[in-house]
């Protein structure tokens, strides 16, 4: 071969990719499909992993590190595993905290039961006070919003609470709220501590990175079975699942925020004579306040996104109602519960953001009453509304509407929603159905088939080759090693289906995002509006996306994919807008003076410069898509997610299966991440943007 020719290939990435795809195709069509051909499928030598994990869990719970524990019932010492005692203590502690908040808001005098024995209250029936009436809660929500950022936020809180109460969702909403109120602080403390530790010690940060990567890309479902095994069922189990999901972003935000502090500010703190604790608490944490509070905001959003999933392990509240409604195909009820979650999410989101921006005035000179005006108003309204509710108890015959409006008596628009869905269904049945059929038979079916017909050697060549081209040999080995782990298990075919659904969703979502972002993100105003749409859609818990599509497309891959595409379009759009914003004004001016047309500007200036940022968006899209694809197992798809979901009912090796498959999904996401991130970094360097 000509030497010049080789040189060209060495310098041209597109040529390298071309050759890679060519090799891939040759392998694809050349390798025969046969069970004994290791180039077609690897033997599942790692079959035993789930069981091994299970054994570890079992032994930890029942065998290892036995402790002598005093059993008060049998009045004797018993041997119990230390780990089991630990998980028990954690469960009881969490459950206690959640119950305290819950009973404080919903139980009235029942709060005493939580602290002393059940019979105490019956014996002392002179002591009794009612639960917090919804009217008082509504006033409270208004006052809190007003205190934080004036009348508009107050109205948001008040009207939100009013809607929730009048539509009969008061009790489950408060249950959900109590869950969030306990889980968030725990995530905050854990995240902040690990974040600070990571910031102070480089080694810790390096060790944390891969763990956080896996935790954040693992499907939420995968945690549920091990959690049931370790902690049992109940609100606490939901809380633990949520803590695992919601803590990593808090850690990341903390590290990010602390790292962003200019070294001069740290020096200024030192030169002001700060001791180490003073430096941490008075300089570092407050200076990183904005990022840390963004972390809190993310934690709250994650908590709400998790309420449905947490209901699978026994958490009560809106999530459970939504799940039940969805299981019995009551779209209207599900939508109402979903709306309540969204309302709570939006209110908490705005409240925490306002709180983050609040400042203190040293020179205001207020009297006691002025300072605590709103608190006093709230206390008075609690008393007044409680008395009203108490007195009017005689007026209503069975249900006291001034305390709580129960769900079956609340206003509802569920039947209108059902009606609307039916109407859409009847009117567009033919077109929806044929679209669905077309997509399934002409696009998705063949695509799935193509993925499943891929010899394992071809998959590896493609993935490792791409990693090598954008990175180096090390990148290729990392990607190969992670894939090998999956290929040696018995779930490779399922993983291929997950990859097919994931890649379809990623491609569509990225296209959507890039097109949307490019159309609207080119003007300052359009970009701002689009970003606020993204903000709004991001407050929706992932589960909510599934509600409408199921009713339009039934339980098929189409539904899941559409939900995944919509869900994953958000980050793709956001990053496209950011990327376009990052194009320097001077380049635009240079383009204008060169006389570019709008389209030339897009292809020649904007897209190349925005490309690295857009790729980071695509990266996010992968995580979002996979999350939704796995979530789709809930409504029945046949990829990895379905087995993870199925593991919920497998007692013998359920925990092991769920964890292993969860890690598989996370490995797929990380593989893509490694390749895409390398690519984006390299482009950034080439453009001099790094």
């Amino acid at each position: 071969m000509d030497k010049n020719y080789l040189e060209t290939i060495r310098n041209s990435k597109p040529a390298q990719f071309g050759i890679l795809i060519l090799i891939f195709l040759i392998l694809y069509f050349l390798i025969p499909q046969s069970e004994n051909n290791y180039l077609w499928r690897l033997p599942s030598v790692l079959k035993g992993i789930p069981l091994a994990i299970n054994n570890v869990i079992f032994n930890a719970l029942y065998e290892w590190f036995p402790l002598k524990v005093w059993d008060p019932v049998f009045e004797m010492y018993e041997e119990k595993a230390a780990f089991r005692e630990f998980t028990k203590a954690v469960s009881q502690g969490l459950l206690f905290l959640i119950t305290v908040v819950r009973e404080l808001l919903l139980g009235g005098d029942k709060i005493i039961d939580v602290f002393v024995s059940d019979s105490w209250l019956k014996e002392n029936d002179w002591l009794s006070w009612p639960a917090l009436p919804w009217t008082a809660t509504t006033v409270g929500a208004f006052l809190l919003g007003y205190q934080l950022n004036g009348i508009r936020l107050g109205l948001l809180g008040g009207i939100g609470a009013l809607y929730i109460s009048v539509f009969g969702n008061y009790v489950p909403s408060i249950q959900t709220l109590s869950f969030v109120l306990i889980t968030t602080p725990i995530c905050f403390v854990l995240g902040l501590s690990f974040g600070i530790w990571g910031y102070l010690d480089k080694k810790v940060e390096t060790a944390l990175q891969p763990v956080l990567n896996v935790m954040q890309t693992m499907p939420q479902f995968a945690y549920l079975v091990p959690i049931i095994a370790l902690f049992g069922l109940g609100d606490h189990a939901g809380s633990i699942a949520t803590i695992i999901i919601a803590t990593p972003p808090m850690i990341r935000n903390t590290i990010l925020g602390l790292k962003r502090i200019s070294p001069e500010v740290v020096e200024a703190g030192l030169m002001s004579g700060c001791t180490k604790p003073q430096l941490l608490f008075k300089v570092l944490i407050p200076a990183a306040r904005r990022d840390i509070l963004n972390g809190v905001n993310t934690v709250i959003m994650q908590c709400l996104a998790m309420v449905v999933i947490a209901s699978f392990v026994g958490a009560k509240g809106l999530g459970l109602n939504l799940k039940i409604a969805l299981n019995s195909l009551k779209i209207g009820k599900a939508a109402e519960a979903g709306l309540c979650i969204v309302i709570i999410a939006v209110i908490l989101d705005r409240f925490t953001k306002a709180w983050a921006d609040k400042q203190k005035d040293y020179f205001e000179n207020l009297t006691f009453f002025q300072r605590y005006k709103l608190l006093i108003i709230f206390a008075i309204s609690v008393v007044i509304f409680s008395i009203i509710a108490f007195i009017s108890g005689g007026y209503f015959d069975k249900i006291n509407y001034l305390y709580v409006i129960p769900i079956e008596k609340g206003l509802t628009i569920a039947h209108y929603i059902d009606g609307a869905v039916d109407w859409v269904w009847e009117t567009f049945f033919y077109s929806l159905n044929s679209f669905n059929k077309f997509l399934l038979t002409q696009v998705l079916g063949p695509m799935k088939h193509a993925y499943l017909g891929m010899p394992v050697i071809a998959t590896f060549t493609l993935a490792m080759g791409a990693a090598y081209i954008v990175g180096n040999a090390r990148t290729a080995l990392i990607v190969g090693g992670m894939l090998l782990f999956i290929a040696l298990s018995e779930y490779w075919d399922r993983a291929l289906i997950t990859m097919y659904m994931g890649s379809f969703a990623v491609i569509m979502a990225s296209l959507n995002g890039i097109i949307l972002g490019s159309i609207f993100g080119r003007t300052e105003r359009g970009g701002r509006i689009l970003l606020s749409f993204c903000d709004f859609f991001e407050t929706f818990p992932s589960f909510v996306y599934l509600i409408p599509v199921i009713f339009l497309f039934n339980i098929t891959d189409t539904s899941v994919l559409i939900a995944a595409i919509v869900y994953a379009t958000v980050p793709a759009t956001r990053y496209t807008v950011w990327g376009l914003k990052s194009v320097p004004l001077s380049l635009h001016e240079a383009g204008t003076m060169s006389g570019v047309s709008a389209f030339q500007r897009w292809t020649n200036i904007e897209i190349p410069i925005a490309f690295p940022t857009v790729m980071l968006g695509v990266n996010q899209t992968v995580v979002f898509s996979l999350q939704m694809v796995i979530l789709g197992a809930l409504i029945g798809t046949e990829d990895l997610g379905q087995i993870i979901f199925g593991a919920l009912s497998r007692t013998k090796d359920g925990a092991g299966v769920a964890l292993t498959l969860g890690i598989f999904v996370s490995l797929i996401a990380i593989c893509v991440d490694v390749i895409v991130r390398n690519w984006a970094e390299e482009r950034k360097k080439a453009l001099g943007l790094a």
Binding site: S262, E264, V265, E267, A268, G269, L270, M271, S272, G273, C274, T275, K276, Q278, K282, V283, P286, A287, R289, Q359, D361, Y362, F363
Partner: protein, 338 residues
């Protein structure tokens, strides 16, 4: 009286095996050799004293080690070798507690990019060093208000740093560094981030403050004009080495190295030199009518001297005693070259 700050053979070398390399080099450090061994030389054998009430300006281009030197003396970074005495105590040997104490009582520092705490208002920023020291909120706010007035920011106590202009932010930085009434004042390129007009204004303000406060100052800058304008003495640094340390006048008149000469070449001498640096010994023929002070900048009295066409008496402004004479021809030489 012993000097307030005294540095003796201070080295700062960044890199993994800095200590070993330095021990092997027997004190003669070659930056290039060290760089090949993976180390970067920040400060190379710096020895000097700063007297009480003196303003030493450390001048150098970026990467010359001037900020590193300042950070060694404030112990924001640990010197690799050498002795740094502050009021006779070696700060390199101090433990963390002593160091905190030292900074709380004796040191104040102003930073290039202001380094204000973004979450605190003007008044909170200024009161911060007092609060970490344990002064009550009431007293620290009272003191901080005093400082606000001193730097001319009255009425903006409750602004956040982001709501202030660069010049105003640096005023806050200055007020904060002065809040504990330190003896030693470190300024790390305090005016470099400001635009030229504001910079001039801040320099004037700084001179006014120093006139009132009379602190011992180490001032770092990359701007030679600024150094000339402010300094009692200037230390010019290059690649971690102090090339020359002298009064502005001597540096302009007798640059020690070619590197220093590059800076001094274009400096208009009449704007820098004092009468003192070009005066002759006392002369009995000197005119009785006119007198100039030895501390006068040449430019400011040139017209007066040239108009008189006579030899003029030079006096010490402190006691009005005659210390020398000045011949108009010398002034002409400074003004028009030679």
């Amino acid at each position: 009286m012993s000097p307030t700050i005294s540095c003796d053979s201070v080295y700062k070398i960044f890199g993994a095996n800095a200590n070993k390399l330095l021990a092997d080099s027997n004190g003669s450090v070659d930056a290039k050799q060290f760089q090949e061994a993976g180390c970067i030389v920040g400060v190379n054998n710096a020895s000097f004293d700063v007297e009480k009430g003196e303003m030493l300006v450390v001048m150098g281009l970026s990467g010359s080690g001037k900020s590193t030197l300042l950070r060694c003396i404030s112990r924001l970074t640990d010197a690799t070798a050498g002795k740094i005495l502050v009021d006779g105590e070696d700060i390199c040997l101090m433990n963390n507690k002593q160091l905190v104490e030292l900074r709380r009582e004796k040191m104040g520092m102003v930073f290039q990019n202001f380094a204000l705490l973004p979450h605190k208002t003007v008044i909170e920023n200024i009161a911060f060093p007092l609060q970490v020291k344990g002064v009550s909120t009431e007293n620290s706010m009272y003191k901080a208000l005093e400082m606000v007035e001193l730097v001319g920011l009255k009425g903006r106590e409750n602004y956040f740093p982001r709501e202030l202009s660069g010049g105003q932010q640096q005023r806050v930085g200055i007020a904060r560094s002065l809040a504990v009434e330190p003896d030693i004042w470190f300024l790390d390129e305090p005016f470099s981030a400001l635009d030229p007009l504001i910079r001039k204004e801040m320099q004037d303000e700084f001179l006014r403050l120093q006139g009132v406060l009379n602190k011992t100052i180490m001032f770092v800058t990359h701007d030679f004009d600024e150094a000339l304008r402010l300094a009692d003495r200037i230390a010019i640094m290059k690649d971690g080495i102090i090339e020359q340390l002298d009064t502005p006048g001597n540096i302009v008149l007798n640059p020690a190295t070619d590197y220093v000469k590059k800076f001094t070449e274009d400096v208009p001498r009449e704007k820098v030199l004092k009468i003192e640096s070009i005066m002759d010994p006392k002369d009995t023929n000197a005119s009785e009518n006119l007198k100039v002070s030895k501390d006068d900048i040449i430019e400011s009295v040139a017209e007066k001297i040239l108009n008189s066409k006579e030899i003029i008496k030079v006096i010490d402004p402190k006691d009005s005693s005659e210390v020398g004479s000045i011949n108009p021809s010398k002034v002409i030489k400074v003004l028009f070259g030679g």
